[in-house]
């Protein structure tokens, strides 16, 4: 925020000075101002990255700007929890209140936002209702070992050994089974971190993780912002590298945030990237260097539907750089299309971590009959390999093709990946200005037109305009959803054409995004450059609205920004 203000102040100064110098071309200051603005724009992005390391009390403040509710019945912590806003929740609540049903509610909301696999219910329901599933033995009705009944932990160990292609059999004593991935993040944050600590995570990321680590434990996520623009040795947009991890870690340290862990999702949500073994090993080595725990979420590991996209679990590596700090998560929610069954597991060799999570596991218990069903399912290798996986992957592939063909028709760029249930698509050209406000407006228009997809802000993406679209659904719902998306996009296109709005530059949009009320003179503005009096008046208002000048002396500025200062001095004729 401060750097934006500096930029505005400097722009005004530059224009004033150019006005004063009779022999300067009126544009000189503006052009130079633009160049300076470019540079400041980069700084402002860095500052944004820095500022993000210092989290607000609510990572995704309510964009309607309604004041936070303070209830006298709740504690401070209770109020913080109550006010935690998550746009994914808003979308989901809207959907639940008005669910699309082709017979009962054809005008309801089509949900292409929630990451669930709705393509294989027929296979699962057939298997889950077979007679071997309906066991009600006494131990299943009684309190279990909170780490999971021994039979299910053994089954998970065998399952991971086989499907993760572990080099040696994995041990049941390294497994804990609790009620879902959210609970795993929640309990790991509680045992690995103290309140106020940070966990590194690349953005965009599955937004609900913020809530999982924050609600009980007040742990913050420290974003490693990735951009679509490829630079240097990047081979793909939003490319996570060790350099970027190092930089974010250093930034966090400068902000006095103690980072304890790193979260990696592979396959990735929402990008659907699959990290290569080399990349994963580099990330693990980075973490080892800094003694960070690594939480590896492999929840989509069986949902890679293209043979060429080579997926490797970290459990397949011959050697982990730091086995005591590597904790692997998986759940049935995605790979077995069973998010409602609420079963997830943690695999780690670290017995301290296991014991600590086990202490909390009684609050995240899985019902006995469910444990039985899941163990039966995982044990049925034949059914998994011959019935389920092949069919599931074929259906995912077909659905992916359908949605991506539609996107190509619409001319919408997207990341073409072959895993998980979603496509990360670029809607930037449909934003009147490149801002999160415009992104949210577009998102709301989609919801009002009865189709739910998730906007990039929900994933803490640093660039406005990206959306995640789910394709793991029946064709008729995908068709309807895409039609409804298209309708909104066509309306937006027409509006943009008729208003003759120019898409402002990225930099302008960032300034505008933060400034609502103030008048901003920007080099790319179509307005005539104001006279000196106008500039002085503007400068006065800018100064009055900030204590910037008290904090930033000329000497400080010269020290911090020698090149800019040199240009400024020349402009001022010194």
């Amino acid at each position: 925020m401060e750097r934006e203000h500096e930029l505005r102040m400097f722009t005004v100064f530059a224009q004033m000075v150019s006005s004063l110098r009779a022999d300067s071309s009126p544009d000189f200051g503006l052009v130079h101002g633009l160049q300076m603005a470019d540079r400041w724009g980069e700084d402002s992005k860095l500052m944004k990255g820095k500022a993000s390391a210092r989290p607000p009390s609510n990572p995704s403040p309510d964009p309607d700007n309604s004041p936070e509710r303070i209830s006298p019945y709740l504690s401070k912590r209770g109020n913080r929890i109550s006010n935690f806003y998550n746009i994914m929740n808003e979308g989901y609540i809207a959907y639940v209140a008005d669910k699309y049903d082709e017979d009962k509610n054809p005008n309801g909301i089509v949900n292409l936002g929630t990451s669930e696999n709705k393509l294989c219910f027929d296979l699962l329901s057939k298997r889950l209702t077979q007679s071997d599933m309906h066991q009600i033995d006494p131990p299943l009705l009684q309190y279990p070992d909170w780490r999971g009944h021994p039979f299910i932990r053994e089954e998970f160990a065998r399952f991971f050994t086989y499907y993760c292609k572990a080099p040696a059999p994995l041990k049941p004593e390294n497994v804990i089974v609790i009620n879902g991935g959210g609970s795993l993040f929640c309990s790991l944050a509680a045992v690995l971190c103290d309140p106020g600590d940070g966990i590194l995570i690349a953005t965009p990321y599955y937004g609900a993780i913020s809530m999982h680590v924050m609600l009980y434990s007040n742990v913050r996520l420290v974003p490693v912002h990735l951009e679509s623009r490829m630079t240097g040795s990047d081979t793909r947009p939003f490319h996570l590298t060790v350099e970027r991890l190092e930089k974010s870690l250093q930034d966090a340290k400068m902000e006095d945030v103690r980072v304890r862990a790193l979260i990696l999702m592979n396959p990735h949500n929402p990008l659907a990237d699959v990290y290569s073994p080399t990349e994963m090993k580099d990330f693990l080595e980075f973490a080892k260097r800094h003694e960070l725990h690594v939480i590896v979420d492999e929840v989509y590991m069986l949902s890679v539907f293209e043979e060429t996209a080579q997926y490797h679990s970290v459990l397949s590596f011959d050697r982990l750089p730091d086995p005591q700090r590597t904790h692997v998560m998986w759940a049935l929610s995605k790979d077995f299309a069973a998010s409602g069954i609420r079963v997830g597991s943690l695999y780690t060799e670290n017995q301290d971590v296991l014991s600590a999570v086990a202490q909390l596991a009684f609050l995240h218990g899985v019902p006995g009959p469910t444990q039985h069903k899941v163990a039966q399912l995982l044990r049925d290798r034949d059914w998994i390999n011959q019935t389920f996986l092949q069919t599931n992957r074929a259906r995912l592939k077909a659905a992916h093709k359908y949605v991506t063909d539609e996107l190509k028709e619409l001319g919408i760029p997207f990341l073409n990946r072959h895993a998980a249930f979603f496509v990360w698509a670029d809607f930037r050209r449909y934003l009147k200005t490149l801002s999160f406000e415009e992104e949210l407006l577009l998102w709301r228009r989609f919801v009002n037109n009865k189709v739910l997809i998730i906007c990039g802000k929900a994933f803490e993406c640093c660039e406005p305009g990206w959306f995640r679209i789910i394709f793991s659904d029946k064709t008729y719902r995908l068709q309807l959803g895409m039609q409804r998306l298209q309708k909104v996009l066509k309306e937006v296109e027409q509006e943009m054409q008729s208003e003759d709005k120019l898409l402002l530059s990225q930099l302008d949009a960032e300034c505008k995004a933060d400034i609502v009320e103030e008048t901003v003179l920007h080099p790319s503005s179509q307005e005539k450059a104001p006279g000196l009096d106008g500039l002085i008046g503007l400068l006065k208002r800018q100064m009055q609205s900030s204590d910037w000048l008290q904090k930033h002396t000329v000497e400080q500025f010269a020290q911090d920004n020698p090149e800019v200062f040199e240009v400024f001095s020349r402009l001022a004729g010194k």
Partner: protein
């Protein structure tokens, strides 16, 4: 005989649950669901609670949240109502599990309201809770700079098995209202009453002084002998508390499949009222009397109680000294004799020598348990050198009618 589970009605429950049709599985069973519980299940629970508690006003399904166990309900309430380091008043002895539930995530401090075996003037029975004791405990908390935010009550009580009278309940609510304390009341054993003592649910009180600060907990673990199913319920009329708790409920969801099964179970009111509750009461009563008499034969007095799956037994005369160390020694002797009962210290009891013994077992198991208790007490008395006691035990012929 340490873990409070109802193992005498397994056959009745298993038979009923097995009949619930598993052939039809709805897609919703495998999808993400409403964090507070699916509407049809919450409606069934609301109807059930309205009927079974004889509530003054019908329970509204929108005020109900379903979670994977009452422990989760405690944990989420604790996190929402308290800040770290805050305290809650709890009469002791009390179910020791409340502590980890309130404290693991929420980081709270229990403020004990100690109850004694000796009935003081004005008290009808041992371990009776009074408002004066609540006041005294609160005063001590103030001196220790503990900010107390709530009063936690278990009714029927665990481990005592006693039931609060209507006057006492109302008195507690009025006390809390005066001090703007929340009241968290757990009625998990409300259907596990084995005699004809009338039970007054807090929901049946005509005038609740502060309904916005009353939070009600019930679950399937005890009354329906289904601890393994993991289902507990919060009922609160306070929207703000409900909002905060619902945010946390995402970590404690009861799977949809289980909600479907339990919806059908609750729907079958005939089975509940005419089959299950009748059999459960009868069998609990038989087990209680068996245990009561068996312990009396051993010279172990028991607090007279009406509810729960256990008895609260007085082993003070078997302690080598009136200390918690001696209590632990006795406990170890019993463990060596292969019988596990829970020492009073784990319930925050202020007097050494009391133990909770679970009796919700088939008769054969109770018989074996009593035999082992006998052996354990004999061995312990020998070790402690209680010749008089030892001979007393030897003189009694051990017999129990099965």
């Amino acid at each position: 005989m340490g873990l409070s589970e109802n193992k005498i009605c397994y056959d009745v429950i298993a038979e009923r649950v097995s009949k619930i049709i598993m052939g039809n599985m709805e897609p919703e069973a495998l999808h993400y669901a409403d964090h507070q519980g699916i509407k049809s299940f919450r409606e069934e629970i609301a109807n059930f609670l309205t009927e079974q508690t004889a509530s003054t006003n019908p329970v509204n399904a929108d005020h109900v949240i379903v979670m994977n166990g009452c422990c989760s309900v405690f944990a989420t309430l604790a996190t929402a109502l308290f800040d770290p380091g805050d305290g809650y008043l709890i009469p002791t002895p009390s179910y020791c599990g409340v502590y980890p539930q309130m404290c693991k995530y929420a980081d709270l401090r229990p403020v004990h309201v100690p109850l004694q075996s000796k009935a003081f003037s004005g008290e009808i029975h041992a371990f009776q809770l009074t408002i004066q004791k609540l006041e005294d405990a609160l005063q001590i908390a103030r001196v220790q700079n503990i900010r107390v935010r709530a009063l936690v009550l278990l009714n029927p009580n665990n481990p005592l098995g006693t039931i609060y009278s209507q006057e006492l309940l109302l008195g507690c609510l009025q006390f809390a209202h005066r001090l703007k304390l929340h009241v968290i009341i757990d009625e998990m054993y409300m259907l596990s009453i084995h005699d004809d003592t009338p039970f007054t649910s807090v929901l049946s009180l005509k005038e609740v002084p502060d309904p916005q600060r009353l939070h009600y907990i019930w679950g399937f673990s005890k009354d329906f002998a289904m601890g393994g199913f993991r289902c507990g319920v919060l009922f609160t009329m306070n929207k703000e508390v409900k909002t905060a708790v619902t945010q946390l409920a995402v970590f404690h969801q009861c799977p949809v499949l289980v909600q479907h099964i339990l919806t059908q179970l609750l729907f079958d009111k005939d089975w509940i009222n005419c089959v299950y509750l009748v059999k459960n009461k009868k069998r609990l009563g038989e087990s209680y009397r068996l245990m009561f008499n068996g312990l009396a034969a051993l010279g172990v007095p028991v607090l007279k109680s009406s509810a729960g799956l256990f008895v609260w037994a007085d082993f003070r005369k078997f302690l080598s000294s009136p200390t918690f160390e001696a209590e632990e020694e006795l406990w170890q002797s019993l463990v060596k004799a292969k019988v596990f009962i829970s020492p009073g210290k784990s319930y925050g009891c202020c007097e050494p020598g009391w133990f909770r013994i679970v009796c919700s077992f088939p008769k054969e198991v109770i018989s074996i348990g009593l035999q082992r208790l006998h052996q354990g007490l004999q061995a312990h008395s020998q070790e402690c050198g209680f010749p008089a006691l030892q001979s007393k035990l030897n003189r009694r012929k051990w017999s129990i009618t099965i």
